[in-house]
Amino acid sequence: MSNTKALPAKLNSETIVLRPSRGWIPLNLHELWVFRELIYFLTWRDIKVRYKQTVLGAAWAILQPLINMVVLTFIFGNLAKLSTDNIPRPIFTFTALLPWGLFSKALADAGRSMLANRSMITKVYFPRLIIPLSSVLGGLVDFFIQFAILLGMMLYYRITPTSAVWSLPLFVVLSLATALGFGLWLSALNVLYRDVGYILPFLTQIWMLVTPVAYSAKVVPAEYQFLYALNPMVGVVEGFRWALLGARPPDALTLAVSTVITMIALISGMVYFRRMERTFADMV
């Protein structure tokens, strides 16, 4: 055991004041930076644990979207016959399933995260935002594995990415931000109302139907396009197909509306989460 030299020199460097908080609480994003290593460790834990004690392990990351692709390709190609802008249907669907999978998993994980980590919340202090944040980030590894498969499929179909491929990271960030924004609301509500756990599956199911995963956004009539754009995932999915497969570019207005909605969800989510934060340890 080390001696007194382990004591930091400036004893009063950190003074913490504890008092009841009232009204609006500052977001304190600086504190998230201080705790960045914890974000890393919790994300790492989620990834590490995800496929433990499964026979197929990380293969599930690939199998899930592949199975989805086969099912959706069959239903929408052979039965519903919706347009794909002349792109081979399997890759048309798979390209959309990637950002969609990233988003829906991040949303569901974030929504459940506060309850799943309740033992930590009631014992140790850290900025609670870290919990939904790290569960959103945990999906990225699966996404990268799936992305490698997508590249393989593009080789097979001899599709070269367009020059718009630079915008891909932006769409990834947009889908994560959307997931985090709504995930923050859901996770805070879930502490108060366990109903959220039951709502989540329906929410993601319905959300997928109003996102152009299995069909092209073109099929939505023009008068509904604005309403449709309120779903930020429309811009993300269209953007993916545009950047990688050379489909028609997403409408600028759609993208602008999506971004605004995402920002609103994210900021209001953080504010609400911070407001509820003080009661989490007592309620969870």
Binding site: E14, I16, L18, R19, P20, V49, M120, D195
Partner: protein, 429 residues
């Protein structure tokens, strides 16, 4: 700036009863309540304050840098709430506190341990949760593993660990946290004697390095050994702050631990104990007085008073005796005896008292805890409360008191010794 580590001023924490524990409001409840609210207000007036309790109120004290302060009190006295506020897990409802320096809390070891991860992985994860930097953990990694004594299993998932190994690893991580202020809650209540010694050693190391420690425990000898001053909490209020020996003495002698009798008010009895209803558990000395301290040289009577709202087949009333480390010393039921078992195979409704005598010269010095159980073997447990009544055994006048030493062991029987000088054995050599 002074050399203060913690300053607490008029701190209070209010909980809403019901909401706090097992009542999860659903959206439906919230909606119906919102709809019915105006009606309720018209009919019953504004919601009353009865639904809240103050778990802690009007607490003010200061802790200097390097001071080790003990916190004692009964269960529910507010000790854990105080520590939770100071370690920022929960917010105070009123008052103010300031803390100078990084706080490390050991409210429970092993927080965030994941069963699927290996010991090595959990050290990093748990360290990060407790607020250590990665470089810090790397530097101390070998020390942590060595302290835990589980080198061989460091790459095994912790779900395969025994509970003892799990605990040792968890404590090893926590013990290497080097905050300026350490907040500890009952960590020492668990583990074997050897491990507890190690933990206590670690704690006094921390204290001797000039760090501030706030130490909550039921283990009075640990409080006396590690702390200079102690505060006594009762019902959410601070009763006193004094040098630890005075505080412990006050706590043990003031009858804060229910003075030899426990009565159950109606609202404290769980609904599922019906038709059994406990009324009181008391200790009486040979003169028939209800006492909190009993002499080891005298028998003591344990009296259980209860009611049965309807007849129960095969009911047995039992007492548990535990020491303050939570180890059970004995269990006994009122129908242990074959004749009693036959006679009371059915107990009709009514008011009962079951009595037994704990014989003289059985228990050693110390604090003991009595628990109560009412059950039907293998069928139903009507009532079970392991921690009903505390009492002290005083061994003045017991055999061996001519030596002023602490006798090891839970019991202190008066054994009848014979000493003979055996000439034959001596000669054989």
């Amino acid at each position: 700036m002074s050399d203060l580590a913690i300053r607490v001023d008029n701190l209070g924490k209010q909980y809403r009863i019901g909401v706090q524990n097992d009542y999860y409001p659903t959206l439906r409840d919230a909606l119906t309540q919102a709809v019915l609210y105006p009606y309720r207000v018209l009919r019953y007036g504004l919601p009353s304050q009865h639904e809240t309790i103050w778990a802690l109120r009007n607490i003010s004290f200061e802790v200097k840098q390097g001071e080790v302060l003990g916190v004692i009190g009964r269960n529910g006295a507010g000790k854990s709430t105080l520590l939770k506020i100071l370690s920022r897990v929960t917010e105070p409802s009123e008052g103010y506190a300031e803390i100078h320096g990084r706080v490390g809390s050991l409210l429970e070891v092993g927080t965030g341990f994941h069963p699927e991860l290996t010991g090595r992985e959990n050290i990093y994860l748990n360290g990060a949760i407790l607020g250590m930097k990665r470089t810090e953990i790397q530097k101390k990694f070998d020390e942590i593993v060595e302290f835990s004594g589980i080198e061989k299993f460091i790459d095994t998932p912790v779900k395969r660990y025994s509970s003892g190994m799990y605990l040792r690893l968890a404590f090893a991580v926590a013990a290497h946290l080097e905050p300026q202020i350490l907040v500890v809650d009952e960590v020492l209540a668990v583990g074997d004697a050897e491990f507890q010694r190690k933990c206590l050693g670690k704690m006094s190391d921390v204290a001797s390095q000039g760090r501030t420690v706030l130490f909550v425990s039921h283990n009075m000898s640990a409080i006396l050994r590690l702390t200079q001053e102690t505060i006594v909490l009762e019902g959410g209020r601070m009763l006193m702050r004094a040098p630890s020996n005075q505080a412990v003495d006050f706590y043990l002698s003031s009858g804060l631990s229910q003075s030899g009798e426990k009565r159950w008010p109606k609202e404290e009895i769980p609904a599922d104990s019906y038709p059994f209803r406990p009324i009181a558990l008391r200790l009486r000395n040979p003169q028939g007085m209800v006492v909190e301290t009993v002499r080891s040289t005298e028998p003591v009577e344990v009296e259980v008073e209860y009611e049965l709202a309807s007849a129960i087949n095969g009911l047995r009333i039992g007492i548990y005796l535990m020491n303050t480390h939570g180890e059970t010393i004995f269990t006994s039921f009122d129908t242990d005896d074959g004749e009693m078992y036959e006679k009371y195979s059915v107990r009709p409704a009514g008011h009962y008292v079951s009595r037994c005598i704990i014989p003289a010269d059985l228990l050693n010095d110390g604090r003991y805890i009595l628990g109560l159980n009412a059950s039907v073997y293998r069928l139903k447990r009507y009532f079970h409360e392991p921690n009903v009544l505390n009492f002290t055994v005083d061994s003045t006048g017991a055999p061996g008191k001519q030596w002023f030493e602490v006798r090891q062991g839970f019991i202190r029987p008066r054994l009848s010794w014979q000493i003979e000088r055996e000439a034959y054995a001596f000669e054989q050599g």
